[in-house]
Subunit: 271 residues, 2 copies
């Protein structure tokens, strides 16, 4: 199977998921779209997030992908079910894997969720956690400043440290033992968040579990790539190719990435 796995995100956050897919499935081709020009999605109205996510989806479907990963929590919360029911290929989001990963490690069933306004308001994590384990007690926290720091390549800066510390103050007062990074941008702040929460809290990023789900479903559908040629990844961004390339190379540890600019005209994404 030469078809690629499609990964879409509001910006560069989905790279944390793409990186895990590359690690767990090193033979697979990945086609990634980051809608950096219109990032963040978190504070946008649902209808707008829905429209943007469909634009990326339709764009990747033209490339004949075999599976779609909506690597953006905000988009997953709003439009996963709709895209799942309309596409002929498997479509997965990041909320259910993140919830499952948290339930695997929690001992006291007290789980925290950090997310964008859209994700937290949707209560998608709360529903998912309780559907799987009714005993779950969930504390949510909106972190509006996290995505902008990451998208502007400041995730290692002193200002990032300060913002993480301030934002997490209310979460530190709870008795959670597990904290879900409910936005795929947040793993780039992972070390700061882990340090701030301390060793008694397990920090969960959905990337690893999402990649396991990709792997499980491709295996189940017998569509894993078993060719021996090295994979060809492609990256598309609606924003600055330079900034996207800088962050992608830094995060993925790959220097020669194929990055193309995609533009949107009358609701259609193209290169």
């Amino acid at each position: 199977m030469k078809q690629a796995i499609g990964v879409i995100d509001s910006g560069i956050g989905g790279l944390t998921v793409a990186k895990e897919i590359m690690r767990q499935l090193p033979n697979e081709h990945i086609y990634y779209v980051g809608d950096t020009a219109r990032c963040p999605y978190g504070p946008r109205p649902q209808e707008e997030v829905k429209g943007f996510t469909w634009e990326m989806t339709s764009f990747l479907m033209e490339w004949n992908i075999k599976m779609l990963v909506i690597a953006c929590n905000t988009a997953t919360a709003v439009v996963l079910d709709e895209i799942q029911s309309e596409l002929p290929i498997p479509v997965i989001g990041v909320i259910s894997p993140g919830a499952r990963a948290a339930l695997k490690v929690t001992k006291n069933n007290r789980i925290g969720v950090l997310g964008t306004e859209g994700t937290i308001k949707s209560e998608a994590y709360v529903r998912e956690l309780i559907a799987i384990n009714m005993e779950s007690k969930v504390t949510q926290l909106v972190c509006p400043k996290f995505v902008p720091i990451v998208e502007s390549f400041q995730y290692n800066s002193d200002i990032a440290k300060k913002i993480v510390k301030e934002t997490l103050t209310p979460m530190k007062k709870t008795d959670i033992d597990t904290l879900i990074l409910g936005c795929t941008h947040y793993p780039l702040l992972g070390p700061l968040i882990e340090k701030e929460m301390g060793p008694q809290v397990q920090v969960i990023s959905s990337g690893e579990e999402t990649a396991s789900e990709v792997s499980a479903i491709l295996h189940y559908k017998k569509t894993l790539n078993i060719e021996s040629a090295p994979p060809e990844h492609r990256f598309f961004t609606t924003g600055s190719k330079e900034l996207f390339g800088k962050i992608a190379s830094d995060w993925l540890g790959i220097s020669d990435l194929s990055i193309q600019t995609a533009s949107i005209e009358k609701g259609v994404m193209k290169i």
Copy 2:
């Protein structure tokens, strides 16, 4: 969805997988068949393993299960593909999840596999590991004495310690950093195996990853149980109900298990 997840094994080994499913999906009903009367499957001819596995499968299909887990590596190696292609419900084995779990943790791509004669001869793990990552170097080892110690409830004994030590000698001479317990009975010897291999080797049991796969597929197919009534598990054994009950209660930490004896007449399993 009131339907149960079916789990089958040559004996009590599959309980290590059932336990993980119960932990990760506490709402789900599990119907378990252990063919303890004819355990071990490892040294048996393929055709026999195939026939026995189909008997358990047909028995559980009468109970209207929604998914089947072949929680026996020997049976997975021999008959997973056939059962998958003939059943209308999702069917998964334990080899692919075990392989994937190992590939997630290995750093040097040197992976060891312990298994029964049937599993090791089939080279199913080698194929699976290399299909996902061509760089994998795999060392296999047959451990014929492990299943009998476990099935006879001697897994905490001094004799178990001695057998584990002797059996693992050749594996200790390799440079593996990850060791797959390629038989679902072996996690009951897990602490002994981990101690013998030392802290530089990560020991992988496929239970956790198999349960994640069950969860991912049920979620993907939208057939997770979302009722709030407590789950009802049922256990069937072809052998001694008392011995099965003793091991199952010890391993699962549940005292009031519903266990029934199943018998086989002319190739048909019934209670």
